[in-house]
Symmetry: C2
Subunit: 321 residues, 2 copies
Amino acid sequence: MREHGGNLDLAQQRFGGRAEDWIDLSTGINRLPYPVGEIDARYWSALPSRSEIDALRKAAQHAYRTSAPVVALGGAQAAIQLLPRLAPRGRARVLVPTYNEYAPVLSTAGWDVEEVSELDALAGADFAIVVNPNNPDGRCYSPKDLLALLPRVGRLVIDESFADVVPHLSLASQAERPGLLILRSFGKFYGLAGLRLGFALGNATDIASLAAMSGPWPVSGAAIAIGRRGLRDDDWATATSARLARDSVRLDAMVQSQGWTLVGGTPLFRLYDTPDAPAAQERLARGQIWSRVFAQKPTWLRLGLPGVESEWTRLSEVLSR
Amino acid sequence: MREHGGNLDLAQQRFGGRAEDWIDLSTGINRLPYPVGEIDARYWSALPSRSEIDALRKAAQHAYRTSAPVVALGGAQAAIQLLPRLAPRGRARVLVPTYNEYAPVLSTAGWDVEEVSELDALAGADFAIVVNPNNPDGRCYSPKDLLALLPRVGRLVIDESFADVVPHLSLASQAERPGLLILRSFGKFYGLAGLRLGFALGNATDIASLAAMSGPWPVSGAAIAIGRRGLRDDDWATATSARLARDSVRLDAMVQSQGWTLVGGTPLFRLYDTPDAPAAQERLARGQIWSRVFAQKPTWLRLGLPGVESEWTRLSEVLSR
């Protein structure tokens, strides 16, 4: 498995403790999740029905403010796994640094993959991959610039896994345009990564291809039950966006004392430049707070946002030791 | 979507009622499911960890009495979706009549697919597909005959989705043999089809390929939590197998009054020959009991087993009208 956040196994192996003792800030997953609530027994027992999957798709269109065709999948990652088969093998370009699954999944499937560092350099690719806002550095691309790029590539895949908190950046409303494909994650903003739910939005042909590749029952009954509720809950989304915006500022302020400087981020995670990121990770880990470092960038430390107040307190204490 | 059992949407469209009013006997899913119980919050919130997925795999090895490599997937169906990419396109032969996803998934992916009606006719295929025991007719193939076929095909894929109740038929213990691949379903015997959990067992190379194709988090946290418990619960499995065996005899006896004759089945479903299956389906549906008919076989009616006693009573009443 490639290096990812959320690898608490590694934290426990190196620093001990039970999983439940740790505050996992190594991901961009909201730590105050959407309430799971009661799940009706039939969502566990029965195969998801066509009408329930349709209702989930409609809830996603509501949340993502689009009428474009949409398919529900087992996380944005499940969409990434299917990408290489959406078109005949060709040249893919990935705007980096970014989520580290795109390049290997495409190259393993026989695509010629090139990593580029500027948006313009994606032009000419059969597949162009942009994560917006970007993980881990929070870099943002304007809808205008992305739409200008669209006619210059075969397919423009925009991973909007962290876009719930910055809806003005989303191209979901335009997803039906030829060549555009938008990926969304449910688990991050709604804080339910274990549910495995995500969506792809695009033109009817691409979405039908992805649906055929993923089979008749690609998501669980629980994902349908909770996803339908969560994606329709505008009040929760509004309050959560506001809270995350406040809390990301609070986190930036809290780490100033360490001399860490903000590289970038979104309201779901912050990327800091530190004198020595592995040392900072280890210091946090001694207080059983897990963070993300990057082998290629020894000064980068990424932190998700603490959730309940006791997590903020512990972070503050660990930082002041 | 192809014709499947569990399509209660269709039952409701034609005969009315809410989903929860129906007794769905159109599938082979156990109607007295393994208790879901409490699911710890972290299974919803966190990405499934490597150690938890490993523990699920070990629980599957325990239940399926094997030490062969295993990968957890989103149902046996998820394994079927990946099959076409496990080897270069070639000739696939499917032993029919059987589960109607194999032939179209393989042929859509460019395989040359032939349907054959005798085990021996599979010889010479690059992929040979056998469902054992078979759905919908319950036909069984002996491990000896299947192992004799193995060297005569490229890969022998045995779908053991209904084998939990007939473990002596399983080749899971031999799954590591070159060319053999075994698929298992969690949802049917454990009565939790909405959980989307299944397994593929085989040699290390094939299982590593399937794992790479399915990505780092192919199953949900709830599937891990419940699957780990269920697959280790030998007492529940023993009691459930015994109960299903008794109840399948009870169902056969109950429908004798209708002049229906048993074509075959497993302790999870029964296939009956009836004078007019669509008419029988409609009669049951007027009592809000859903069953499975087959467009190509107008006398075949497949019934799953009722669960709680009130379901048996309703079936008996509807049959005596």
